[in-house]
């Protein structure tokens, strides 16, 4: 397994790109650490597949270099890069048995027969293909064929990285869970460097220890699922991760408070130096809706209550702005006007889309407590 370094990479499918919009992938620098599982997540057209293809060598970037363990591989073809790839649709030899399909990448590299036996056995057991090893691949179901594809990707122990491009798309929903679990187990056990492209939030966040969120050719945040949820670095990440997404309200910052119309929300001492126009972000899960006014609550009118079964989503208006609040399933909302509490530790402040301040978390008081 290898450490993969992207050095000032950018890519445009147009010959002479002029503006940012001409780039499928805007300039980026990133190191994919050895043994980690990464997922590339974003809406269609965000550049995630371009990025994966640059790592694999299917696309030669118009700018920058790709290094594997410090060695420049930019000019190398995919087959010269020592990587394994799994695609959306099964890539297997129909006329071969399952065993021969799994053994193929090893035989190609003259791996000794005894080692082939051992690796194929291990991978086939992991993917529950061991009872069909001697069947011809042609006669198997679509799910089983895709499992063979996964197996072929996983069978070599000496690859620099395994790249997955939406590998579970053709898999039946109830089998998806089983395969997500397998991939997670395989990663935990073998510590392979894995890069996984998907537009499925559940797949990306479950699979990866680091998720790369992309939009319009730009990497907006690389972080753990928890970081993406709790501290989105960009308003797009807040919107894209989570259902419903994060609430954003334009505000003026002044002396540690966010002003929205004539209302004031206490953000925390650490935001004291912020002055002027910003956006305040807070997730629906962290807002607290109350019937009675308390300290630090703001008046809202309730425009809609949706019962989602496991919770209720309440739409409220705060000084002409609409916010969503998640409330427990067994809470009855019998009033039209209520009060909203913004817990300061969950308030995030954004300028031009970028995170500039994370509520009270970083305030001096809290830091002292944790030290």
């Amino acid at each position: 397994m290898a450490r993969i370094e992207l050095n000032n990479i950018a890519h445009s499918y147009i010959a002479n790109p002029r503006s940012d919009a001409d780039y499928a992938l805007r300039k980026m620098d990133h190191i994919w650490e050895d043994g980690h599982a990464y997922a590339l997540l974003g809406p269609s057209g965000c550049g995630k597949t371009t990025l994966l293809n640059i790592i694999s060598g299917l696309v030669k970037p118009s700018e920058g270099k790709v290094l594997f363990d410090g060695k420049d591989v930019s000019a190398l073809l995919p087959q010269e890069r020592n990587i394994a790839q799994v695609f959306q649709f099964p890539v297997i030899y129909d006329t071969m048995t399952v065993f021969d399909n799994l053994a193929f990448p090893l035989r190609n590299r003259n791996v000794p027969a005894a080692e082939i036996q051992e690796r194929v056995k291990e991978v086939s057991e992991m993917l529950e293909l061991d009872n069909v090893l001697h069947k011809r691949a042609a006669n198997l179901s679509a799910d089983a064929k895709q499992k063979i594809s996964l197996g072929r990707g996983l069978v070599r122990s000496d690859v620099a990285a395994i790249l997955f491009d939406e590998p579970l798309t053709v898999i039946d929903p109830h089998l998806k869970l089983m395969l997500r679990r397998k991939l997670k187990q395989i990663h935990t056990r073998f510590k392979l460097t894995m890069v996984y492209v998907t537009h499925d939030q559940l797949e990306a966040l479950t699979f990866a220890d680091q998720v790369v969120v992309m939009n319009e050719g730009q990497v907006l945040q690389i972080g753990s699922p928890q970081e993406l949820f709790e501290s989105p670095q960009h308003t797009f990440v807040g919107y894209f991760i989570g259902s419903p997404g994060m609430n954003f309200i334009p505000c003026q910052m002044d002396n540690g408070n966010a002003r929205i119309a004539n209302l004031k929300i206490h953000v925390g001492a650490s935001s004291k130096n912020l002055k002027g126009d910003f956006e305040l972000g807070i997730r629906p899960e962290f807002l607290k809706l109350r019937k009675k006014q308390e300290n630090d609550t703001l008046p809202v009118t309730i425009s809609e209550v949706e019962d989602m079964g496991t919770s209720k989503i309440v739409t409220v208006n705060l000084a002409d702005h609409t916010l969503k609040v998640k409330v427990e399933e067994n809470r009855e909302i019998t009033f039209d006007e209520g009060f909203l509490e913004f817990p300061p530790e969950w308030i995030r402040i954004y300028a031009d889309g970028d995170l500039v301040e994370t509520g009270m978390e970083k305030s001096p008081d809290t830091l002292e407590l944790t030290e």
């Binding site: 949820f229 259902s243 019937k291 079964g309 409330v327």
Partner: protein, 364 residues
């Protein structure tokens, strides 16, 4: 005046696609057909549209028998999973096409096309061709074409399934708001419980061609008549455990006996199946009455704002749904807890005995 489906059966060769279904839909209502793939949702819609003819039974609209009448002569529009538009026509002409066929005056066509395009937020794209649009915009165009003619019946067959989740989330809410203002009978097929809950209205649960339950969406969710319905209408799936009631105590599997309370008090002694919703299973004790299970963590799956922890208890695979993102280690031993007031009770054949009371506490 309503649409009535009367003892409708559809056989295709020896296969029974629809088995003796009776349903009534009122004008201005939103109705969901919920069920797994092949449960009969599309078959039922095709019968309602007049694309197929029932083997037995009748379909009536406003008291008039429509059974043998072809789709062309019916007042119906349909949206499919695939984004179906005329590739050689602009968005404008695509949306206008049903009105042109109906020989509506040009001025009226223009007014209605622009109005519906604005509602679906494709008014800036009217001069484009379908292949110049994203998937979401293509499906908005197909929906606009279905909406432009005020048909008395509007059928949508999993219209959002091919879109990515964020777009799905937005379009669901938009569609719900658009349909609220219409007098049509809207019928919407989906496999996703969350989609049914977001859209609201009424839900008919289908299973292998049978109608299992029909009622207001939230009532069906809160009081499923069978384990099958509970399964179809729970995402993640409901967790089940067998248990016994004996002389005033409850035992779930091999847990310690617990006193009978609340909705369980009237239950006769005997064996039952108990259902637990994933969001009611907790990994910390929440009340002294909680029943405790010893479990092993299998995998923690993470959606954007929730964590689904798959756990194993005596060979049963269960799921715990938690708000927020939390990390768990595979293979770790952990206790899971259920508050007995949240138990769904079914007999051993899977029929509902009693559901949790839904006494809501007012927000303070």
């Amino acid at each position: 005046m309503a649409m009535v489906i009367e003892n409708v059966t559809k056989l295709v060769g020896k296969d029974c696609h629809i088995q003796d279904i009776s349903l009534q839909f009122e004008p201005g209502t939103f109705n969901i057909l919920l069920g797994h793939t092949l449960s009969g949702k599309t078959s039922l819609m095709r019968l309602m549209a007049g694309l197929d003819r029932p083997t037995k039974g009748r379909i009536l609209m406003n008291g008039k028998d429509l059974t043998g009448i072809s789709v062309r002569k019916r007042d119906v529009a349909m949206v499919y999973q695939q984004f179906i538009n005329y590739p050689s026509m602009t968005v404008y002409k695509n949306i206008a096409s049903p009105l042109r066929l109906a020989k509506v005056a040009e001025k009226e066509i223009d007014h209605r096309v622009r109005e519906v395009a604005e509602v679906l937020r494709i008014d800036a794209l009217l001069d484009r061709f379908p292949n110049e649009l994203s998937g979401g915009q293509q499906q908005r165009t197909a929906i606009a074409r279905a909406l432009v003619k005020d048909t008395e019946l509007l059928l949508l067959d999993e219209p959002l399934v091919n879109l990515d989740y964020k777009l799905r989330e937005e379009l669901r809410i938009e569609m719900r708001d658009i349909f609220k203002r219409r007098q049509s009978i809207v019928v919407y097929a989906t496999t996703e419980p969350l989609e049914a809950l977001t859209l609201g209205g009424n839900t008919a649960v289908l299973y292998e061609g049978h109608l299992e339950q029909f009622g207001s969406t939230i009532d069906v969710y809160q009081s499923p008549q069978s384990t099958r319905i509970a399964q179809a209408f729970s995402d993640p799936a409901m967790n089940f455990v067998n248990g016994r009631i004996d002389s005033g105590t409850l035992r779930l599997g091999d847990t310690k006996p617990a006193p009978l309370q609340h909705h369980l008090q009237e239950l006769a002694p005997g064996s039952y199946q108990f259902g637990m919703r994933p969001n009611h299973l907790h990994l910390q004790r929440t009340s002294p009455e909680d029943i405790e299970f010893q479990t092993t963590i299998d995998l923690a799956e993470i959606s954007g704002s929730e964590t689904y922890i798959h756990i194993i208890h005596n060979g049963h695979n269960w799921t715990v749904q938690q708000q927020g993102i939390h990390a768990y280690q595979m293979g770790k031993q952990i206790y899971a807890y259920i508050d007995p007031t949240q138990l769904y009770v079914f007999d051993l054949d899977g029929h509902r005995v009693v559901s949790p009371e839904h006494d809501s506490a007012e927000l303070t």
